[in-house]
Amino acid sequence: MEQETLREPLLEVEHLSKHFKMGGKSILKAVDDVSLTIYKGETLGLVGESGCGKTTFGRTVIQLYRPTSGSIRFDGRELGTLKRKELVSFKKDAQIIFQDPYASLDPRMTIAEIIAEGMKVHFKLSPAETERKIASLLEKVGLGADYANRYAHELSGGQRQRVGIARALAVKPRFIVCDEPISALDVSIQAQVINLLIYLQREFGLTYLFISHDLSMVQYISDRIGVMYLGSLMELTDNQTLYSRPLHPYTQALLSAIPVADPDLGQAQNRIKLEGEIPSPIHQPKGCKFAPRCRFASEKCQAERPVLRELEPGHFVACHFAEQFQTEEA
């Protein structure tokens, strides 16, 4: 319901690719022709296994990497054409929370210094104002102002991640890339951080790109979810549909591989076993990237790469035979 009124795009990505030169002639296509739109106020989850390009995608959309090709529009403005000054203001609007709270905080800076760094670049604040803002941010993320003069090593993983969140919030962003913000944390702490992210989203009207390999957490926090495999987007739809009616064979296998934390449900679960492993992103299959591991792969899949198409309103799939699964399911 809510979504209908909020369908105003914030970030539009078209045919985005990010390739890395690996020495010699080999090229690693980390992100390979990905298009998607993130709407204002929503959380878009991005899932996939390691090496599927989800982190590279997240970093490229906020210009930590320069895209190889394709276009990214933020609030209607093409990022590739921004001047230096405009780029600075974009970087204020788009922030990132990193995966590893142990590596992403400078061990020689106090928590206050870490949080103030971005504020100094983007706002002209007096020391007293800065101090007051830091205190209020620390309260907001549930740490308390007395943490301001501590160092990162004094904090636990969950507390560090809260600092990472406060740092991102300090410049009043509109869009935050959450790059596996909870995978380094314990279950009980994960829940705390997820709740905090949901609370902050409501409080500040934030838009999230939530990257994770943990599908149950992604489902919990996201409005829509994209599934990536070997640099390509395989399926994109709202979170209920993705879990109840996945149309891509890879999504189906991925979902069925999650061990359910319930012995009876786990027994009842119909697990699709995936043979083999993810091919190297340097030597990618010619046709569908998933074809070598797919139960349904045919000659067409080996030869021709399927494009992402909208099969039902809002449900995008990159599979030649998605219609078949559609009728089967219905």
């Binding site: 296994e49 636990s156 009980s188 997820i194 709740n195 991925l254 999650i258 027994q267």
Partner: protein, 343 residues
């Protein structure tokens, strides 16, 4: 039904880390038994002592930095592992008990071909020639479903993917057909689809060889599907133990309940508040008074802060260390589902 043949018994195990800051009591009086052919899961969050416990079973710790306290016993086949001499210990490690470590990137030797690494393990425990060992090593690789084992035996670890490396680690652990395998977070470093493959492989091996498995993990999903019994650890102690079904459907310890509730169910409604446990585990450098979970427990009573609860047997192998089970304690009924209670 399972054969109830006890193969390992741990009595009052206490492990301390001796640091500059003082003595950290990582494992505080753990008792348990392992039966033939079962999968016993040890579950808990980081720092709860689950890995230290599993390593202590193989005496994989470095004195004097880490020490096992007087009075601890680990009985294998009637013999105390903690009192074994060097020779006995070497026969025990590898031959009787195999270990699978968490990180397949660091548990293999990067300068040795994987076939040679398996052959090395074989030759330590069996009187066989290099040639025989090499042939056997390929056999072991085939056993763990590595395609093209002859060729893979000639690979170095860096040439293999994470899943393949973990299979090699399993092959080494299995090389001498041990009676017990200790798997410490065997799939934590792997992707879900690969994790499923590795867990299936372990279970297949258990069926075939009746090896008992001790599965150390923080992942309740893995536990629900693969363990027969569970022990929940918190702050170096076992707070609850029982069959997988009992623990998932009738948890009696508030911590077990909280752990279960912190995991989002795939079907659960989104965007509501996810149940989260407040606070963090206690600092293990301190002497604990009372129940270690008291400070985070929603049912905390005055007695909980004063005295450590005794372990109470609830029948059928289910037991819990919680004052709520005391006859004088108020009846709180079945433990609240945190989500419904809106805690």
């Amino acid at each position: 039904m399972e054969q109830q043949e006890k193969i390992l018994e741990v009595k009052n195990l206490r492990v301390n880390f001796n640091t500059y800051a003082g003595k950290i009591q990582a494992v505080r009086g753990v008792n348990f038994s392992l039966y033939k052919g079962e999968t016993l899961a040890i579950v808990g969050e980081s720092g709860c002592g689950k890995t230290v416990t599993s390593k202590a079973l193989l005496r994989l710790y470095q004195p004097p930095l880490v020490s096992v306290a007087e009075g601890s016993e680990i009985l294998y086949d009637g013999q105390d592992v903690l009192k074994m001499n060097k020779k006995q210990l070497q026969a025990y490690r590898g031959r009787e008990v195999g270990m699978i470590f968490q990180d397949p990137m660091t548990s293999l030797n990067p300068t040795m071909k994987v076939g040679d690494q398996i052959a090395e393990a074989l030759r330590i425990h069996n009187k066989i020639s290099k040639k025989e060992a090499a042939v056997l090593a390929v056999e072991k690789l085939r056993l763990v479903d590595i395609p093209n084992p002859e060729k893979r035996a000639e690979c170095y670890p860096h040439q293999l993917s994470g899943g393949m490396r973990q299979r090699v680690v399993i092959a080494i652990a299995l090389s001498c057909s041990p009676k017990i395998i200790i798997a410490d977070e065997p799939t934590t470093a792997l992707d879900v689809t690969i994790q499923a493959q590795i867990l299936d492989l372990l279970m297949e091996i258990r069926e075939k060889t009746h090896t008992a498995i001790i599965l150390v993990t923080h992942d309740l999903g893995v536990v629900a599907n693969f363990a027969s019994r569970i022990q929940v650890m918190y702050a170096g102690q076992i707070v609850e133990r029982g069959s997988t079904r009992d623990l998932f459907y009738q948890p009696r310890h508030p911590y077990t309940r909280a752990l279960l509730d912190s995991v989002p169910k795939l079907s659960s409604k989104t965007h509501g508040e996810l149940y989260s446990l407040k606070g963090t585990p206690p600092d293990l450098i301190l002497e604990l008074k009372g129940c270690p979970f008291a400070a985070r427990c929603q049912y905390c009573m005055p007695v909980c802060q004063e005295r450590m609860p005794e372990e109470i047997d609830l029948g059928e192998g289910h037991s819990v260390s919680c004052w709520l089970q005391h006859p004088m304690a108020p009846d709180v009924g079945p433990l609240n589902d945190g989500r419904k209670a809106g805690a």
